[in-house]
């Protein structure tokens, strides 16, 4: 949609994101890259890099141990991010926020801490064909170990979740694992509805929000999920800090994933007692620097406004879908409506291997991902070995999409 500058109502103008200005906060763009791989990991703004650097310059010390001033400051900095994360996803309390390394660790924590304890022979886990390996393999392994059933809901030919099939598969399950946004098709299942169906069937619901939380406001209370996991590095934060949200009463009853320091209350020669939640799930010294960076990243996102970011992404995805359709032999995977997909577009080009596409795009400094994107079952279902994926975030511009299209025209010419 085109808006004439003078005709823009002020409320709308406020909602526009100034990507060109935002880009200036990201030093990596000085290298000249056209970065379209934020679904793999986002770039980091100066504010985040400086927050990490300042932590090392002024507060570096271990958390929850030392009693001297900078140790207290480090602990406060670490715990303040927990509060920030709780309000970022509208959790009831900071105690429901567990710092992990990433989404995968969050899923494994639930698999080991809840699954090993509660899943029995004859039990059932339900997931979907849309999933990243992160939200697939842990449940498959859990089911195998426990002699439980592993049910995978189908997708439609358009790439949407087959809700009727999922509803069928949820029957008799004690855990339902679903992603809020697919990392390949961009499909965004109705997680609120799925959580409700899960609960109606006596099952808990784990939501993989890795591709969702970076640009869409998460409200765990409204969604009704029991667990939700995401990675900081996909939302401007450093590597090594992710979040697992879990409902208080469920966390209370769960076993730790790792045992040792930090997670204990008392240790005796013959037995030990665990710390309160969430600390019983955070054994060992955590990645304090990365968590501090996550706090700065959430501040950055909040000040840009997640809704503005989402609107900006939808505009770019719409443009990308238009420009990609110019390329001969290019097939877009997933739903055509930008409003129904996350900030990415995966595609194949007839007669050209995805690996060759991304290598040739790299020659024009265009960074895209090629492969199965850690979603082999989905690619098998789609009948393709691999695909190429371009993803956008708040710092991308229309010029980036133009560069992608131009570079793809070169590929088209070379392989014609």
């Amino acid at each position: 949609m085109m808006w004439r500058k003078g005709a823009m109502p002020p409320t709308w103008r406020e909602k526009m994101l100034d990507a060109k200005k935002i880009r200036k906060d990201f030093p990596v763009f000085d290298t000249g890259i056209i970065y379209l791989d934020s679904a793999a990991t986002s770039q980091k703004p100066r504010q985040v890099i400086e927050a990490v650097s300042n932590f090392y310059k002024t507060k570096n010390s271990n958390v929850a141990r030392g009693l001297y001033r900078i140790a207290e400051e480090a602990t406060m900095a670490y715990e303040s991010v927990r509060k920030k994360a709780a309000s970022f996803i509208n959790a009831r309390e900071a105690g429901e926020i567990i710092f992990t390394r990433n989404t995968t660790e969050g899923a494994n924590l639930v698999m080991r801490g809840w699954g090993e304890k509660n899943m029995g022979k004859g039990g059932k886990v339900a997931t979907t064909m849309l999933e990243h390996h992160t939200n697939f393999v842990p449940w498959q392994v859990l089911a195998k170990r426990k002699g439980a059933e592993f049910a995978v809901a189908e997708i439609t030919d358009e790439g949407l979740l087959d809700e009727a099939d999922l509803e069928q598969k949820i029957r008799g399950a004690s855990l339902v694992a679903v992603s809020a946004a697919s990392n390949v098709l961009g499909t965004m299942p109705d997680t609120k509805k799925i959580c409700r169906i899960a609960h109606d069937n006596g099952a808990l619901c784990f939501v993989d929000a890795a591709q969702y939380a970076p640009s869409i406001p998460v409200n765990v209370k409204e969604m009704g999920c029991d667990f939700l996991a995401f990675s900081g590095h996909k939302m401007l934060a450093p590597f090594g800090a992710g979040v697992l949200y879990g409902r208080h009463d469920i966390l209370e009853d769960m076993d730790p994933l790792l045992y040792g320091s930090e997670m204990i209350r008392e240790v005796h020669p013959d037995h030990s007692e665990w710390a309160e939640i969430p600390h019983k799930f955070e054994a060992g010294t955590p990645a304090v620097d990365a968590v501090v960076g996550l706090g700065a990243a959430m501040d950055y996102l909040s000040s840009a406004g997640l809704e503005n970011i989402r609107n900006h992404e939808m505009e770019l995805v719409k443009l990308m879908l238009e420009r990609l359709s110019e390329i001969k032999g290019l097939e877009i995977l997933g739903p055509e409506d930008p409003g129904r997909r996350g900030a990415l577009v995966a595609f194949t080009v007839e007669g050209v291997h995805p690996h060759d596409i991304s290598a040739m795009l790299s020659e024009d400094n265009v960074c895209v991902r090629s492969g199965h994107h850690c979603a082999m079952p989905l690619h098998t279902r789609l009948g393709v070995a691999a695909s190429t994926r371009a993803s956008v975030y708040l710092y991308n511009t229309k010029e980036d999409i133009d560069a992608l299209a131009e570079s793809l025209h070169k590929v088209e010419k070379l392989f014609k």
Partner: protein
């Protein structure tokens, strides 16, 4: 990178040489998990000499072009000569510089991996 995508590389990708199975032959299959490239190498060996070499599979232009050239290269070689074949042979066949592209290097060396696997596992 565009130097990698020379015309002859793309030509070999579109029209591979020595593509197909050899019945009653020694074979080895290898794959590259990063891109899903997969190659099966077939060798017909008589009196310690490679009488025929072919391949099947799918993958990127580099792996497919490399397999086309490599199968031609090892034809007529003795088993002793085969055991001495290495990375430099493959790279000089391809005539492209991959020294700064470690992931693409793996694609290029896939047929060599298949040969090594065949020599190690299949032949005594």
């Amino acid at each position: 990178m565009e130097e990698i995508y020379q015309e002859y590389i793309i030509e070999l990708y579109k029209n591979p040489r020595n593509y197909g199975e050899i019945p009653d032959s020694e074979r080895a299959e290898v794959s590259n998990p990063t891109c899903g490239d997969r190659i099966t190498l077939f060798l017909k060996i008589r009196d310690g000499i490679v009488q025929n070499a072919k391949f099947t599979g799918h993958g990127c232009a580099i792996s497919q072009a490399s397999a086309s050239l490599f199968t031609g290269f090892i034809r007529g070689k003795s088993l002793e000569e085969l055991s001495g074949v290495g990375k430099e042979d493959v790279l000089s066949l391809l005539r492209i510089d991959l020294s700064r592209n470690p992931t693409r290097m793996r694609c290029a060396l896939l047929p060599l991996d298949a040969l090594k696997k065949l020599l190690k596992d299949v032949l005594p």
